[in-house]
Amino acid sequence: MRYVDEFRDHEAAVRYIRQINRITTREWTIMEVCGGQTHAILKSGIDQLIPGKINLLHGPGCPVCVTAVELIDRAIAIASKENVIFCSFGDMLRVPGSSKDLISVRAEGGDIRTVYAPTDTIRIAYENPDREVVFFGIGFETTAPANATLVYQARQMNLKNLSILMAQVLIPPAMEAILSAPGNNVKGFLAAGHVCSVVGYDDYEHIVSKYNVPIVVTGFEPLDILQGIYMTIAQLEEGRAEVENQYRRAVRREGNITAQKIMGEVFNVVDRRWRGLGLIEKSGLALIHKYAEFDAEIRFGVEQLTAEESTECISGLILQGKKKPYDCPVFGSLCTPEYPLGATMVSSEGACAAYYRYRKEGTESIKQSGGKERP
């Protein structure tokens, strides 16, 4: 299939791996930011094919994983109310809050619906004028334009029974939080290509100059990722730190201006709490005053609801790239996708779920790559 097969080509992959091997002279730790990339790396086995000197850390780019427990609790509080239709992307339903998840609310009689596009909720709100319809607005810069469109259209249509629970987060502040954390050893980033297709990559210039790390805007196919790794390692080996764009077929420096306009119309930047990473300044999006009537937290009076994260789960350290899923004593035993203790095991983009799905213990390939994968 065109635009897919050429980016998964075996021969080309072998050539890239050879090139990466050729230029890698010492150990480097680099982080792929996006959970989609983590998934692709483990599914295609890139981690097994690249030189052992390169340590790939898995970043915080999974929207389900980083949504704070208190926001899940607020979602549960709203979804449990009578007369509410709570709409969400499917993955969010199984993320544990403080005491339960949204799926259990559904089992208890809550009307919780999985939607594929935020604007699907407009139809639901339109068809159910007597009920309150709430959308769980999660995601990074990638979902922000569509979520902004939902709110914009709701106002245009004067829909009084629709609101959004804002959990929107931004990637560059999280990358800075990782780089400035004590004990950080990330030396380069594969930046999330789709995030950059929306907001461009100008924002990364100051990170590159402030922290002296290469950032390569990277796509999601195996060859994209291999090329991204090659470009990052080449910069590191040559002592350069620049923003480079591997994903040129989808990303322009300035990003998608139309998408940015609708985001600017509806959202402003606020501080936000991340699961596992804590409060990060200017890392979230909220509705601007003009659209405040669509804010579900205000409408349902849940903004005071707070919650502490469980201490059992090391997902925070995994999201910061300080630990790998195998480092967790309960990985694959007490914590599995069926009974997740933390968000990184729930979402298909979460690092623990990806390790569990593609790298369970006991296989030859894992034993062979054991030196690299396991401490």
């Binding site: 299939m1 897919v4 998964r8 080509d9 075996h10 992959a13 072998v14 989609g36 483990l42 599914k43 295609s44 086995g45 890139i46 097994q48 094919l49 929207p63 389900v64 992307f89 499917g90 993955d91 199984r94 999985t114 594929y116 999660i138 995601g139 990074f140 990638t142 979902t143 789709h194 195996p222 060859l223 599995t336 996708p337 069926e338 979402s347 298909s348 983009e349 569990y356 799905r357 593609y358 790298r359 369970k360 006991g362 296989t363 030859e364 390939s365």
Partner: protein, 351 residues
């Protein structure tokens, strides 16, 4: 349903009289008898059903029989490439075929929601008849219940089936041996993506049609050619991946497959790419994996492909001699990974 001898028939219960199923149609009185007679007996037409007895009485031609049952709750009831009726016949026929049995008779229980369209019921009954004819089985006994409006989802169907086993092979996951070839009879993922696209009103450039099909004839052909089948499994919910994981875990051996060998049509691949799905986990209704000794693999493939029966049939992997009971897949770029069962349904990628 396609245009053929079945689609020309019109509903024998005058629509003007009862355009919708009433509670009384399940009440045991005249209306119920009229419904059974004019819809089900008329559509399924066979002597055993026409005796109107409490059950079907028959002789079997073998002392080894296979018996299975399945319930069908698919939403939507009509989808590109099939409907709940065809599914209810093919699904149970295929379960019998996976035991190496030749399907003989089916039973069929309908749970109908009050208000269900009589015309749709007729169409579904005709579709079942067509599927039964194609699979060479008869629907010989049945049951009809009507539930209050709001207590069903239009229509649920349960079918059970009996088949006879005319060979001495044991066809089961425990019979899988190291060295066995793993064959699929066609491209995977169509049924699940057809349902998904239809249910969620996702429109792609071309309509994906369900792969819903009877497999018994194919299995009989393989057996007639004396192919030593070790194991068969139809790839329904959970897709190819779930079936392989189940077989590996029962057999105790490692099953190694290659991603590049697994046939998936571009339409399905494209739809999966858009949603972030893995086609190996997508449901099928007319696909199976066949485990045969390596030396018989090419012959089996030739039987499958004969007369254009399953042109996409392919050998996708082999059984290793490691007693790990897991499934591994060689990725397109050449690395190996584990294939595991999903904990639930696949969910579309968020971003």
């Amino acid at each position: 349903m396609s245009d053929n001898e079945y689609s020309g028939l019109s509903c024998p219960i005058p629509i003007s009289e009862y355009p919708h199923v009433l509670l009384a149609h399940g009440g045991g009185g005249k209306l119920m008898h009229q419904l059974i007679e004019k819809i089900f007996t008329a559509a399924f037409a066979n002597p055993m059903l026409e005796t109107a007895h409490d059950g079907a009485v028959f002789k079997a031609d073998s002392d080894r029989l296979a018996f299975t049952t399945d319930s069908y709750v698919v939403d939507p009831l009509f989808f590109p490439g099939g409907d709940i009726g065809k599914l209810a016949v093919d699904g149970t026929v295929n379960d019998l075929a996976m035991c190496g049995a030749r399907p003989l008779y089916l039973s069929c229980g309908f749970i109908i929601e009050e208000g269900f369209s009589m015309d749709s019921l007729w169409k579904i009954a005709l579709s079942m008849k067509q599927a039964a004819d194609e699979a060479k089985v008869s629907i010989v006994t049945g049951d009809t219940k009507v539930v209050d409006k709001g207590r069903g989802h239009g229509l649920f169907i349960n079918t059970a089936g009996i088949g006879s086993i005319g060979h001495d092979l044991t066809i089961a996951p425990s019979m899988v041996q190291p060295g066995d070839a793993v064959i699929v009879n066609g491209d995977i993922g169509r049924h699940g993506m057809a349902i998904m696209a239809h249910r969620e009103s996702l429109s792609f450039e071309t309509t994906i049609e369900s792969d819903c099909a009877p497999l018994a004839d194919t299995v009989m052909r393989l057996l007639d050619e004396d192919i030593e089948i070790h194991c068969l499994r139809d790839l329904t919910r959970g897709g190819l991946a779930a079936s392989l994981v189940e077989i590996a875990s029962v057999s105790g051996y490692r099953i190694a497959v290659e991603e590049s060998k697994i046939p998936v049509v571009d339409q399905v691949r494209g739809a999966c790419e858009i949603l972030g799905f893995d086609p190996t986990y997508v449901a099928n209704e007319g696909r199976m994996v066949i485990f045969v000794p390596k030396k018989e693999a090419e012959k089996a493939l030739a039987v499958l492909r004969d007369q254009g029966l399953w042109p996409e049939a392919a050998i996708i992997g082999r059984v290793g001699d490691e007693r790990t009971g897991i499934v591994t897949m060689k990725s397109l770029i050449g690395a190996e990974r584990i294939v595991d069962m999903l904990s639930g349904e696949q969910l579309p990628r968020i971003c």
